[in-house]
């Protein structure tokens, strides 16, 4: 009975959801024009790079598409449309450059490939890169696209390839990766998403706080009754059991962690709204984990440090050889796993969704076969919906896990032991 009356609404929502899931991908990939042409490195002369860069190839590369979509570009994409963001680039010795990424004149609909170079920077797949050659013109000039040759990238200007700096890698270039000569302080997509979520959460909590003041002693209403169970859940299930009676001091930190991570997780799930991958970005999770690290260790009591540095009740030789080194390592491993757990869960979810959507284009032979693409859609859309529901669950679980682990680390640090 219930099923039949609710069926039309369910159906309508499913169709809307399905459209929302598939539309951005269709919009972006049907006219998938990539200026990257993989020249098989050894046989080609440098001059050939630009001959290839000019014409567009339609080959669909699922791995690079997935990585492109979980990246942190200097353009904001809503649906298939791109919007410019401010670029703030600092080069030691050359000074600060502030301009809009619109100066690169990327397509309104596309992958964020800049058609112009500006001040020696180019936009490749939404990311700012710098031309190494200092004789490259500083003003805004037309470029012939960016070409890839093996590991190296080149920009074509006036028929000649100019090498681009390799992107910075996590190790800062220690293990062979790249390290750019400039610092990128730009408001990238992730930064803008963080500001949006921050503004939204501020609005939510000020509204709720106001209604608590105005409706004192009355039953909660509206937004208030939505937030109250979540807030009380974190307070009663996380803060109080782990922190004891001193929970009030750390509660603001735990609440900020929980709601900010939850907000960003959920914000990244909105299909049309950029699909930003903030909590799936190592830099972000590292910043949050560092907060936990400092809060835990600055608040550590005498007993905590005693257990870390010189565990009582253990023979001195064992302490010196095993326990103390392991405990000191543990200080860093705890926030390190916090960082990796959140990053890996969110990134893995996004990559799986993107891989399922990529099935459409693999089956459809990069748009050559409509029948194959339809078959791919039949396979991929239910899988994608399934995966997105799982991700919705993961968004809550990971925010909760991050908070509960932080609470347990703080709890262990402030506990007074009785021996």
């Amino acid at each position: 009975m219930n099923f039949s009356t609710k069926f039309p609404i369910n159906f309508l929502f499913s169709v809307l959801f399905l459209l929302a899931v598939t539309y951005p991908s269709f919009g972006q990939h049907e006219n998938h024009e990539t200026t990257h042409s993989e020249a098989s490195s050894d046989e080609h002369h440098e001059g050939d790079i630009c001959a290839h860069a000019g014409h567009h190839e339609g080959d669909f590369d699922p791995a690079s598409t997935a990585f492109h979509h979980i990246g942190n570009p200097n353009v904001y994409s809503i649906g298939p449309f791109n919007f410019p963001l401010p670029c703030i680039l600092y080069t030691p010795g050359e000074g600060l450059e502030i301009f809009s990424s619109g100066k690169f004149e990327f397509d309104f609909q596309g992958h964020g490939e800049g058609h112009k170079a500006y001040k020696g920077y180019v936009l490749d797949a939404g990311t700012v890169r710098k031309v190494i050659d200092p004789s490259f013109p500083r003003e805004q000039v037309e470029i012939g696209g960016v070409a890839q040759m093996g590991e190296d990238y080149f920009v074509c200007y006036g028929g000649h390839p100019y090498a681009l700096e390799a992107r910075s890698t996590m190790d800062g270039g220690l293990f062979g990766g790249g390290r750019t000569s400039f610092y990128d302080f730009s408001l990238t997509k992730n930064v803008v998403s963080m500001f949006l979520v921050f503004a939204f959460l501020t609005w939510v909590f000020f509204t709720v706080a106001k209604s608590y003041r105005e409706r004192e002693g009355k039953a909660p209403k509206g937004l208030q009754s939505f937030m109250e169970p979540m807030f009380l859940f974190i307070q009663d299930e996380v803060a109080k059991p782990f922190l004891g009676e001193k929970y009030a001091k750390y509660q603001p930190f735990l609440m900020a962690l929980f709601f900010f991570i939850l907000g960003l997780n959920l914000f990244g799930q909105i299909p049309f709204f950029g699909g930003s991958n903030v909590t799936g970005n190592l830099a972000f999770t590292m910043a949050v984990a560092l907060f936990t690290f400092f809060v835990v260790n600055f608040n550590g009591k005498k007993d905590y440090w005693k257990h870390v540095l010189w565990m009582p009740g253990v023979p001195a030789a064992i302490k010196a050889v095993i326990i103390t080194p392991v405990e000191i390592l543990g200080l860093f491993i705890k926030p390190f796993t916090l960082m990796l757990r959140l990053f890996a869960n969110i990134t893995a979810g996004h990559i799986v969704v993107l891989s399922f959507i990529g099935l459409i284009f693999i089956f459809g032979n990069s748009g050559a076969s409509i029948g194959g693409a339809s078959l791919g859609a039949v396979v991929s859309v239910p899988l994608t919906i399934f995966m997105m529901s799982i991700e919705l669950l993961v968004a809550f679980i990971q925010a909760f896990v991050f908070t509960i682990l932080t609470a347990s680390y703080i709890g262990a640090a402030i506990e007074e032991h009785h021996h």
Binding site: P241, T337, L340, R341, F343, A348, V401, I404, L405
Partner: protein, 71 residues
């Protein structure tokens, strides 16, 4: 080649985590069946333990995921 080996590593890590989280889930179900009134505490601890097991597996997954890209 490195990518394929890394994929095997990823699979092995997931098997380990699967066994671990499976055990946690099974024991938690047993505990809930024995003491249904403690369901809240058991659930919270179950998620905490699952997260800890998962952490070890995720490090392996990330290493096997990043390694072929970095190498």
């Amino acid at each position: 080649m490195i990518g394929s080996i890394a994929a095997i590593g990823m699979g092995l890590a997931v098997i380990g985590a699967g066994i671990g989280i499976g055990n946690i889930g099974a024991k938690a179900m047993e505990a809930i069946a024995r003491q249904p009134e403690a369901v809240g505490d058991i659930r919270a601890n179950m998620i905490l333990m699952a997260a800890l097991v998962e952490g070890a597996a995720l490090i392996a997954i990330i290493v096997s995921y990043i390694l072929p890209v970095a190498a």
